[in-house]
C-alpha cells in the first residue's frame, strides 16, 4: 500500500493530519539557572539512573514504587504506575488505568525514606557480652567485624552439623523476600525446621478457601461487584497493597453496597453502607444463617450450584435449622438484620463475600471461614467478574536443591495439622521448647526479620523459648525485642537496599523486581548474601557433594561475588518460571515488572484439559500403586502385563495395590503413562495429581479440590483429625471458640491493624508515629460507664497470662462486650521513638494455634479492665 505513495501524496495528506490537536511536547528552554525542581521531579534527573523502579516492602503488599535517588541518597518515593500492584486488581482495569499515573501509595510507602535513614538502625554485626538473657536485660553489645560474625556463625553451624544434629537448627523468616535462598540453605544444611511468617497472619483463611474453592488465596474482584460483604477485614485502612482501597471506592462509586461485619467500627466499616457489629469469632454462625436464608428463599444460583459444586444437598440439610434466630443468639446480630443482609446480597449481583484475619485468628477459624467462602458459591460467583477470583500464578520458579535426606520430624508437628501451611506453626515450636515437650531440643536459632517476641502470642513464653536456645542469630535492621535475645545480631537491609522478586497480589501474573535503589548504607551484606556467605564459609555442598553457593546457577562457572551469584540465582528463577526472561530483562522493562499479557481470565474452571497429541485412551487397565496407596508404580494392561510409567516392564511387588476401578488410562503416543481417570471421573496425572474431571466426554479443569468442584461438604476434611485428635466435620459447622469471657475476665480482647503501621516493625518510624502514636484501648461507652472509666483514663488490662497498663479510649464504635486496640505497640526495644509507646497486645495471650491450620490465635483472649 505505502509503496505506491509518492512524496506528493504525503504532503497532500498533511491537510487531514493537521487537524489532530497538538499537545505540548516541548517547551522553550529557559536561560540561566533553572528553578529548583520538586523532589519528585522527573525533569530534575540529568541521568536515567535517578529514578529506580522497585517494589515497596513497608508492608507485605509489594506495591510498585519509583525511588528518586540524588547524589546517592534516596530523596523521594512515588507510586509506580507500571506495576499493577498499586494500580488495579484485574488486568482490564490495569490496561485502562495504567500509565495514567493511576498508581497510589499508602502512608507507610511514603514514609520509606525514614525506614532507610532510621537513626536507630544497626550498622555493624554485634556480639552479646552479657550471658544473661531476659526481657529488658542489657545484652552488652560489642561491635564485631563481619569476618568475626560470619566465621563464628559458620563455625557454630558446622559444628552442629558435624555432630549429626543439623536438625537442631531452627529458622524463622519473614515471608515476602528472599525466602527461597533460606529454604535452600536449610534443605542443604539438613534441618526440617524452616518456618516463615504466614502462620502469624492468614493461614486459617488459606485453609478455608483451599477446602472450598481449591485456592489458598482467591482475591475479590471488588471493582466489578455490586454487593460486597466483608467479615473481619479492614482493607481500606489495613491497606496491604495500595490499589486495594480504590477498588472499593470505585465499586461504591459504581453503586455497589458495602457491608462490613466486625466487632469494631474499622475505617472500612466507617465507609460501609452498613456496619454489623457482632461477638468475636461468631462470623461462621452468621454466614450459616445467611446460607440458610439464601437456600430457603431459593435465592441461590441454582445453575452454578448444580453444575459446579458438590455436596450441596447435605449442606442444605445441615443449614436447614441455622435460622436467623439461632444466629442472633450466638452473634448478637438481630435476626431482622440477617434477613435484610441475605436479601440484599441476593438481589444485588454480582455479590462477593470475603474474610480475612478478624475471624481468622480464633480457634474456630477454619470452619467459620468455610461457611463464609461457601456464600460465594451459593451466589454463583467464584472466578467470575465481580466475584471471588482464583488468580493465575506463574511467577519465578524455585529450583529445589538436592539436599540430604532428613530423618527427624519437624519441631512444629506440621503433619499433625491437617490443613496446615508450609510456613509451619510458630506457636508449637516455641511452646514445645518452653514445655520441654519438643521431639528434640533445638540448639541454634536463626531469625530473619521476625520480631517473634512481639508478634507471636504469649510474649513471656516466647522470651523463655528463645532463652533456651544455645545460640541465637537475629538479622534485622533494628535492635528489636527479639534481637535483644540474640547472641549475634547481623545488620539487615531495608527494601531500598536489596533485591527480591515479588509476585502477585493481583488476579493475573506479574513479577516485579525489588532492586537496590542505594547500596546498603553501611556496606552491610544483604540477607541473601549473608546466607550465601555463611554457606560458603561452612563449605556447604549438596547431597551429591557438589558446590551450590559458589557456582553460578546459569553459567555453571564459579562466581566470586555473592551479589553476582545471587543475581544469577534470581535470573534462573525468572528464566525457568513464568516470565522466561533474565534479571537484566526484568530491569529493563518499564517499572521493572513483568506482566503476563494474557491478563485476568475469568471462569478458568471451564477450561478444557487437553490430552497430548496422539494420546491413547485405554479401558480395562489398572493402576499399580505402592502398599500405602500413595505412589504410582505403573499400570497393568488388559492382558495382565504390568508396566512402569515409562512403558518398560514392571515387577509388581507382592504388597502392591491394584486399582482396577479406574475408568480410563491415558498413554501418550509413545505408550508412556500420561494419566488416568479414576473411579469418580477425576482426571489425574501420572503422579496422581488431579488435573480435571470428565464431563460430557470432555475434560474440564474445574477447581483444585479433590472433586474438582466447589465443595460445600468436604470429604477431605472429614477424613482427617485435627491437631488435638478430634474429628473434623464435613460441614462448615459453627463451634464456639475455646476461650469465652467469664466473671473474672468478662471482656473479649481483639486487635487490628491500620494504615499507619505494619505488624510490629514500623514503630520507630517518626512520620508514622506522628500519625498514630499510641494504641489506646477502645471501650464501648456503655461498658466504660459501667466500669467507671473515662476517655483517657489510665487503666490496667489483665488476663490470666499478663497484665499491663494502657490508656482508655471511650467510643461508640465497638461491641459492648469487646475491647480492642491496634496491634504492634508496646516496644521496649526497637529504637528510641518506638520505646515506651502503647501496650503490647501479645502479652495477654497463650502461645497457641488453631488446631486445623496452625494459625496463631492472636485474638482469642479475654481480659478484665479496671482503673489504675
Amino acid at each position: 500500500m505505502t509503496t505506491t505513495f509518492t512524496r506528493r501524496d504525503f504532503l497532500k495528506l498533511a491537510g487531514a493530519a493537521g487537524a489532530v490537536a497538538l499537545g505540548t511536547r516541548f517547551v522553550a528552554a529557559k536561560n540561566g539557572r533553572a528553578a529548583a525542581p520538586s523532589l519528585a521531579s522527573r525533569a530534575a534527573g540529568q541521568t536515567a539512573g535517578n529514578w529506580i523502579a522497585t517494589a515497596c516492602n513497608m508492608c507485605g503488599g509489594q506495591t510498585g514504587v519509583l525511588v528518586r535517588v540524588d547524589e546517592g541518597r534516596v530523596a523521594k518515593i512515588e507510586p509506580n504506575p507500571d506495576n499493577p500492584i498499586g494500580v488495579a486488581n484485574v488486568s482490564t482495569d490495569f490496561w485502562r488505568w495504567k500509565n495514567t499515573d493511576g498508581a497510589a501509595m499508602c502512608p507507610k510507602g511514603n514514609a520509606g525514606p525514614m525506614a532507610l535513614y532510621d537513626p536507630d538502625r544497626v550498622k555493624t554485626p554485634l556480639k552479646r557480652t552479657n550471658p544473661e538473657k531476659g526481657k529488658g536485660v542489657d545484652p552488652g553489645w560489642a561491635a564485631i567485624s563481619w569476618d568475626e560474625a560470619l566465621n563464628t556463625i559458620a563455625a557454630k553451624l558446622r559444628d552442629l552439623r558435624d555432630a549429626g544434629e543439623a536438625h537442631k537448627l531452627v529458622w524463622f523468616s519473614e515471608d515476602h523476600s528472599f525466602v527461597d535462598i533460606q529454604k535452600d540453605f536449610t534443605e542443604l544444611y539438613g534441618t526440617p525446621n524452616y518456618h516463615n511468617h504466614s502462620n502469624l497472619c492468614d493461614v486459617a483463611r488459606k485453609a478455608s478457601f483451599k477446602l472450598v474453592v481449591g485456592d489458598e488465596r482467591p482475591l475479590g474482584d471488588f471493582a466489578n461487584a455490586r454487593h460486597i460483604l466483608l467479615f473481619g477485614w479492614n482493607p481500606l485502612s489495613a491497606t496491604k497493597w495500595s490499589h486495594l482501597p480504590r477498588i472499593f471506592t470505585r465499586a461504591i462509586e459504581n453503586g455497589a453496597k458495602l457491608v462490613v461485619v466486625d466487632p469494631y467500627l474499622s475505617q472500612t466499616a466507617a465507609r460501609a453502607h452498613e456496619w454489623i457489629p457482632l461477638r468475636p469469632a461468631t462470623d461462621g454462625a452468621l454466614a450459616l444463617a445467611l446460607a440458610h436464608l439464601l437456600i430457603k428463599w431459593n435465592l441461590y444460583d441454582q445453575e452454578f450450584v448444580n453444575n459446579w459444586t458438590t455436596g450441596f444437598d447435605d449442606f442444605a440439610a445441615f443449614v436447614a435449622d441455622k435460622t436467623p434466630e439461632w444466629a442472633e443468639q450466638i452473634t448478637d446480630v438481630p435476626a431482622a438484620t440477617i434477613r435484610r443482609m441475605a436479601r440484599d446480597m441476593a438481589n444485588l449481583r454480582p455479590a462477593v463475600v470475603d474474610v480475612w484475619s478478624g475471624p481468622g485468628q480464633h480457634s474456630n477459624a477454619v470452619q467459620g471461614g468455610r461457611a463464609i467462602a461457601i456464600l460465594n458459591a451459593l451466589l454463583g460467583n467464584v472466578d467470575r467478574p465481580g466475584g471471588l477470583i482464583n488468580p493465575e500464578r506463574k511467577g519465578p520458579a524455585r529450583q529445589k536443591p538436592h539436599g540430604p535426606k532428613i530423618a527427624q520430624p519437624r519441631l512444629d508437628n506440621l503433619n499433625l495439622y491437617p490443613f496446615g501451611h508450609g510456613s509451619g506453626v510458630y506457636t508449637e515450636v516455641l511452646q514445645s521448647i518452653v514445655d520441654g515437650t519438643a521431639a528434640y531440643m533445638p540448639k541454634i536459632g536463626m531469625v530473619i526479620f521476625q520480631n517473634l517476641v512481639l508478634s507471636v502470642p504469649g510474649t513471656d513464653n516466647v522470651i523463655e523459648a528463645l532463652k533456651k536456645l544455645e545460640f541465637l542469630v537475629v538479622v534485622d535492621t533494628m535492635l528489636s525485642e527479639t534481637a535483644e535475645m540474640a547472641d549475634i545480631v547481623i545488620p539487615g537491609t531495608t527494601y531500598l537496599e536489596r533485591y527480591d522478586l515479588t509476585t502477585n497480589w493481583v488476579t493475573w501474573t506479574s513479577v516485579s523486581l525489588r532492586q537496590p535503589a542505594v547500596e546498603p548504607i553501611f556496606g552491610q551484606l544483604p540477607e541473601y548474601e549473608f546466607v550465601v556467605e555463611v554457606a560458603r564459609r561452612m563449605g556447604l555442598k549438596d547431597a551429591d557433594d557438589k558446590d551450590f553457593f559458589t557456582v553460578g546457577r546459569i553459567s555453571g562457572q564459579p562466581v566470586d561475588s555473592t551479589q553476582a551469584w545471587y543475581e544469577e540465582y534470581l535470573s534462573e528463577q525468572l528464566l525457568k518460571g513464568g516470565p522466561k526472561i533474565s534479571l537484566d530483562d526484568l530491569k529493563a522493562l518499564p517499572g521493572a515488572v513483568w506482566i503476563d499479557p494474557k491478563g485476568t481470565r475469568y471462569e478458568k474452571f471451564k477450561d478444557e484439559v487437553h490430552l497430548p497429541d496422539g494420546a491413547q485412551t485405554k479401558t480395562g487397565y489398572a493402576i499399580v500403586k505402592s502398599a500405602d496407596g500413595k505412589t504410582i508404580l505403573g499400570f497393568k494392561d488388559d492382558r495382565g502385563a504390568a508396566h512402569k510409567p515409562d512403558g518398560s516392564a514392571l515387577d509388581v511387588p507382592a504388597d502392591a495395590k491394584m486399582d482396577d476401578k479406574v475408568q480410563q488410562i491415558i498413554l501418550d503416543k509413545d505408550g508412556k503413562l500420561w494419566g488416568y481417570v479414576d473411579a469418580k471421573g477425576i482426571l489425574k496425572g501420572a503422579d496422581g495429581s488431579e488435573k480435571g474431571f470428565r464431563r460430557d466426554g470432555k475434560f474440564l479443569k474445574g477447581w483444585s479440590t479433590p472433586s474438582r468442584l466447589i465443595e460445600f461438604t468436604s470429604a477431605q476434611a472429614a477424613a482427617r483429625k485435627d491437631r488435638n485428635g478430634n474429628a473434623i466435620d464435613a460441614q462448615p459447622v459453627y463451634t464456639p471458640r475455646d476461650w469465652f469471657p467469664n466473671a473474672d475476665f468478662p471482656l473479649y480482647l481483639i486487635n487490628w491493624k491500620e494504615s499507619s503501621h505494619t505488624h510490629s516493625r514500623t514503630f520507630n518510624n517518626p512520620w508514622l508515629i506522628e500519625l498514630m502514636g499510641w494504641n489506646r484501648l477502645a471501650i464501648n461507652s456503655v461498658t466504660a460507664a459501667r466500669l467507671g472509666l473515662k476517655d483517657g483514663d489510665e487503666i490496667w488490662v489483665e488476663s490470666p497470662y499478663g497484665k499491663a497498663k494502657a490508656l482508655a479510649r471511650v467510643t461508640q464504635g465497638i461491641h459492648p462486650e469487646v475491647v480492642g486496640w491496634q496491634h504492634g505497640f508496646g516496644h521496649w526495644g526497637l529504637g528510641h521513638i518506638a520505646k515506651g509507646k502503647g501496650t503490647a497486645d501479645g502479652s495477654f495471650n497463650k502461645t497457641i494455634s488453631d488446631p486445623i491450620s496452625g494459625m496463631a490465635l492472636h485474638k482469642e483472649v479475654c481480659v478484665k479492665v479496671y482503673r489504675v
Binding site: I769, E770, L771, W774
Partner: protein, 360 residues
C-alpha cells in the same frame, strides 16, 4: 534601703538567670520553647502585652506632672517616664526574643504592610519610645523646655492609641471568638492606665523620696485611681465573660471555662481575682492603709501581678481551644498540643527581662 538592696540582689540574680536563658534562646532558637503551633504564643507575648501596657500607663502618669501640671504629682513625672521607658524596652525585648527570625526585625520598618496592626504597633511603639526617651532627656536637662509639652501631648495620644491598638492586635482575629468580642480592644487603655497606677504605687510607695510630704496624698490618689480602675476592670471582665457565656459560641465558652475552671484556675481565682483585684480593692479603699507607704507599694505589686496573669489569661485561653475539635488527635507531636506551661528557657528570659527592667 534594705528593700532596694534586696531587690537589686534579686534583679541581679534574675538577670544572671536571664543571661542563661538568652544564651539558650540564641543558640538553640525556639527548640526549647514550650509553645507550639496551636498554642502558638506564650509567656513572651503575654509579657509584651503586660509591659507595653504598663509603659503606656506610666507615660499617662508622667503627663500628670508635665502636661497637666497637677501639683500633687509634681516631681513624680521623671520616675514615671523612666518607668515607661524601661517597661517599654522590656516589652519590646520580650517580643523580640519571640520572633522566629530576630535578625529580620528591620523588615517591619520597610512599610511593607501598613495595614497590619502588628506593623502599626511596631512603628507606634518605636515612635512612642523615642518620645519617652527625648522627654526624659529633656526633663533631665531642664524641665522648662518648650518641647516638653508638645511631646507630652503626642505621647499621651500614642499611649492611649497604642494600648488600644494592642487590644486590636488580637481583637481583630475573627478566628478566635474569645478575642473577637466587642469591647475587647476598648479595655486595653484602661488596663494600661491601671497598670500604670500600679507601677506608680510601687514607685511612690516603695521607692518614693522619704522627705516628700505629699507622699501619703499621692498614694491616696493613686490608690483611689486604682480602686476605680479595678472596678472598671471587673466590669470589663464581666462584660467579656457574660458575652462569651451567654453567646454560647462553643470555642468561646470553652475558652472562658478554661480560664475559670481549667488547668490554671488558681492563677485566675487566686492571683488575678483574689490577690490582683480584691485585696488591693479592699486595702486601698481604706485611707489609712492606702496612705501607708508599704501597704500601698505592695498593693501596687499585687496589682501588677494580677495584670500579668490577666494578660496571660487573655492570650492563652483563646489558643488552647482547638479551632476544629478533631485536631486534638489528628497528628501527634508535642508541638501540636493544646496545653501550655512556659519552659525553663522562657521563664529565664522573662525573669531576665524583669531583672533588667529593675536594675535601673
Amino acid at each position: 534601703m534594705t528593700l532596694k538592696r534586696t531587690l537589686y540582689a534579686l534583679a541581679a540574680l534574675a538577670l544572671l538567670f536571664g543571661v542563661w536563658g538568652v544564651l539558650v534562646r540564641l543558640t538553640t532558637g525556639h527548640e526549647n520553647a514550650a509553645y507550639g503551633s496551636y498554642v502558638v504564643w506564650g509567656l513572651w507575648v503575654a509579657m509584651y502585652l503586660f509591659f507595653v501596657g504598663i509603659s503606656a500607663g506610666a507615660f499617662m502618669f508622667a503627663t500628670f506632672d508635665y502636661l497637666f501640671n497637677i501639683p500633687l504629682f509634681k516631681g513624680t513625672g521623671r520616675a514615671a517616664l523612666w518607668g515607661a521607658l524601661v517597661t517599654l524596652a522590656a516589652g519590646l525585648l520580650s517580643i523580640w526574643f519571640d520572633l522566629g527570625h530576630m535578625e529580620r526585625i528591620w523588615e517591619v520598618y520597610l512599610f511593607r504592610n501598613p495595614f497590619s496592626v502588628m506593623a502599626q504597633m511596631v512603628w507606634g511603639y518605636t515612635l512612642f519610645g523615642a518620645i519617652a526617651l527625648v522627654s526624659l532627656i529633656l526633663v533631665i536637662q531642664s524641665e522648662k523646655s518648650a518641647w516638653l509639652k508638645p511631646l507630652m501631648i503626642v505621647g499621651l495620644f500614642l499611649s492611649v492609641f497604642l494600648s488600644g491598638g494592642v487590644g486590636a492586635l488580637i481583637g481583630v482575629q475573627a478566628a478566635r471568638p474569645y478575642w473577637h468580642i466587642g469591647l475587647f480592644p476598648a479595655q486595653f487603655p484602661v488596663f494600661s492606665l491601671a497598670s500604670g497606677a500600679g507601677l506608680m504605687l510601687v514607685v511612690v510607695g516603695l521607692f518614693g523620696a522619704t522627705d516628700d510630704a505629699r507622699r501619703p496624698q499621692q498614694l491616696w490618689v493613686l490608690g483611689l485611681t486604682t480602686v476605680v480602675l479595678q472596678l472598671v476592670k471587673i466590669y470589663f471582665l464581666w462584660a467579656d465573660f457574660s458575652q462569651s457565656l451567654y453567646g454560647g459560641i462553643p470555642m468561646n465558652v470553652a475558652a472562658v471555662n478554661e480560664v475559670m475552671f481549667g488547668t490554671y484556675w488558681w492563677a485566675f481565682w487566686i492571683l488575678q481575682i483574689g490577690l490582683g483585684t480584691i485585696v488591693p480593692l479592699v486595702v486601698l479603699v481604706q485611707p489609712k492603709l492606702a496612705k501607708h507607704n508599704g501597704w500601698a507599694g505592695w498593693m501596687g505589686v499585687l496589682v501588677l501581678v494580677g495584670f500579668a496573669v490577666a494578660r496571660a489569661n487573655i492570650v492563652f485561653p483563646a489558643l488552647t481551644v482547638p479551632e476544629l475539635e478533631a485536631l486534638r488527635t489528628a497528628f501527634n507531636d508535642p508541638r501540636l498540643g493544646y496545653s501550655y506551661f512556659p519552659s525553663l528557657m522562657e521563664w529565664a528570659v522573662t525573669l531576665g527581662i524583669v531583672g533588667l527592667a529593675n536594675t535601673p
